[in-house]
């Protein structure tokens, strides 16, 4: 694993001051401050990761750093930095400090590729990264030292194309195996969808032992993104891989996992078969549907709750204070009738975002 430390692309003095002032705001105003971390493609094609302010009527970039390729999974590290994983088949992991612009980047060993997300353990002592082992094509989770990404251990995901994971209260891991056969040599091209095998698995984080595995009846629905609601229900955002365009267009975008089984949520309209991100927010689940141009909303028990139009909506950032969503040229704070629209630049945001407080 090659390690390098890049020259920090420090945010400008004015930006630092703005960020500092925002952090110093009294509680009443700080509650309205909405800052998120997201990745995007700039107009000149450069891939960037940055800190955005959504407090006003426009999305403002406070600080950013250039990336070698597009990012995908983003997470806040226990030390307050941002950790990012390259989009699949990804070759780098990166740590970025929005405060001082410091960057550390490592390149993966040649026998592995990143396939989506990363997550610290509950105690923050290790970092899990979701990967594919090139020799076998099988999904693996690397257990890494969050300080320098060195691999400490390795767990099987009991499937292929693993994408996102959650850590449960008991320390076990819940992993979405997307199930789509691909090869790193051919990018994200689907190889043989007849072999598709998506599943949600629960693993013992100590040894990778399979504690449970669940599948949907429709084997052409890829289980990709996960979010847990306050009551423990896990929402699973889906991506359709059916051969027929009409079937893909009307495919479901949300499944719910209650700890015992997976079931599809009600869906009142066609959403173009592609869930880009998922968040648990305002007592329910939100799945971004960029190809349908908006945010699909459900109650916590899977009843359809509505659709918020937002062009190319994808990255969602949610916490107890609410949700923010990024689209193309537009963004919004909040949901439904209470949503506040914002203007965004012409950059193309990637799938995911993090609340940054």
């Amino acid at each position: 694993m090659a390690t390098e430390r890049a020259t920090p692309t420090a945010p400008g003095r004015r930006r630092l001051l703005a960020a500092g002032l925002a952090l110093a705001l009294p509680p009443a105003r700080a509650a309205r401050r909405t800052q998120i971390v997201a990745a995007w493609d700039a107009d000149d094609g450069e891939h960037r990761l940055g800190l955005l302010d959504l407090s006003g009527t426009t999305v403002r970039v406070l600080a950013s750093v250039a990336l070698p390729t597009r990012a995908h999974g983003l997470v806040r590290a226990p030390d307050g930095t941002v950790l990012a994983a390259a989009r699949r088949p990804g070759e780098w992991l990166l740590r970025w400090s929005p405060r001082d612009g410091a960057v550390d980047r490592v390149w993966l060993d040649p026998d592995r590729r990143l396939t989506g997300h990363l997550l610290p353990s509950a105690d923050g002592r290790v970092l899990y990264t979701v990967e594919t082992e090139l020799e076998t094509g099988q999904g693996r989770i690397s257990v890494r030292d969050p300080r320098h990404f060195a691999r400490l251990g390795d767990l099987p995901t009991h499937g292929i194309d693993p994408h996102q994971l959650l850590v449960d209260a008991d320390g076990s891991l819940l992993v979405a195996n997307g199930g789509v056969p691909t090869a790193p040599e051919t990018g994200r091209a689907r190889l043989d969808l007849e072999r598709m095998d998506a599943s949600l698995v629960r693993l013992d984080a100590r040894d990778g032992r399979l504690l449970g595995q669940w599948r949907l009846d429709d084997r052409r629905l890829s289980l990709r993104h996960l979010a847990r609601a306050g009551d423990g229900t896990v929402g699973v955002a889906l991506q359709a891989e059916h051969d027929e365009a009409a079937v893909r267009a009307s495919a479901p975008l949300l499944a719910l996992f209650d700890g015992r089984g997976l079931r599809l949520a009600d869906q009142a309209q066609a959403l173009a078969g592609y869930g880009g991100d998922i968040a648990a927010a305002e007592g329910g689940f939100v799945v971004s549907a960029p190809r349908a141009g908006g945010l699909a909303r459900w109650s916590g028990d899977g009843r359809w709750a509505g659709f918020d139009p937002l062009p190319e909506a994808c990255a969602l950032a949610a916490d107890a204070a609410g949700l923010a969503a990024l689209g193309r040229g537009a963004a919004q704070r909040g949901l439904g009738a209470a949503a506040e629209p914002l203007r965004a630049g012409t950059q193309r945001f990637d799938n995911h975002a993090l609340v940054w407080r």
């Binding site: 070698p68 989506g116 691909t182 051919t186 990018g187 994200r188 091209a189 960029p290 994808c314």
Partner: protein, 323 residues
Amino acid sequence: MSRRRVALGFALALCGSGVAAQSAWRSVAVPFYQPGDIVQGQRAHWYLPRAQDLARSATALEQAVQARCAGAPAAASRAAWRDLRLAWLRLATVPVGPLLERRSARRIDFAPARPARVARAIEQAPVGEAAMERVGSAAKGFDALRGLLAPAALEPAACAYAVEVAADLQREAQALAAAFAEGPDGDEAQLAAWAEAVNQWVGGLEQLRVQGFERGGAGADEIAARWAALRTLAVSDAVVAPEAGAGLVPLETVLRGKGLNPLADWLVAEVRTVGLRLDAARRGGAAAQRAASRALAALARRVEAEVAPALDVRLGFTDADGD
């Protein structure tokens, strides 16, 4: 169009000449190419000759390593390794067909090699094809052999293992040359091969950008070899387009055959710009390297956004979709 003309155009393409691409298209009609014509042209006029070059270079390397173990100077074996490496990059920068089916890159291009695995393999002293099959990729292939040939003086055991690694490379090169002599058969297979060719061209461009300028470590000659392959498969230096099935049909020519001359002109101009940026990066510093990386990214972006849809090809490498 005569075979001689096809040969002339191909030679110019290999030289990377600055001749205006497909300059006769305004006065001489460019054929409409079926996917089978394009794939057959690529296989017969690009991949097969490159695979045969690879096999010849691999045989030369095997002989050079044997000679080294018999006391010849180190420089010859290192030069033979370099020749083989460049032949590999010319063939495998845009990996299609047998390169993917055989997973050749994984077999012989694992980098960086793992010194501990190489040391263990030297101890185990494998001999012959079956024994080398049991040696992991991290202990054989290009990078392992580069390391084995690096010392001024080789221990006999290391030298014997280097000969086996060179022979392993030669077997893979020979297998590729044999496999590229056969093309995909039938409309469906040819259509899939055409889509694969466009996908892999974009992927090869991205790999050049990442390995050459983002990750670093690729030398100037490796970057040049990768770019020569990408350029040859993208734009034509032939004055007149080949008849269907009679020559290499680059992306530019396919576009012209569809009447998409403005897009073809853009592709030619953009490829020329990238070539200039790469030349500048070879001579210049960090700013020139960033400019080269950006030029490669810009080319990939527009090929994804405009060229691939115009060719009715769905990309798996595209940056334009989500994940």
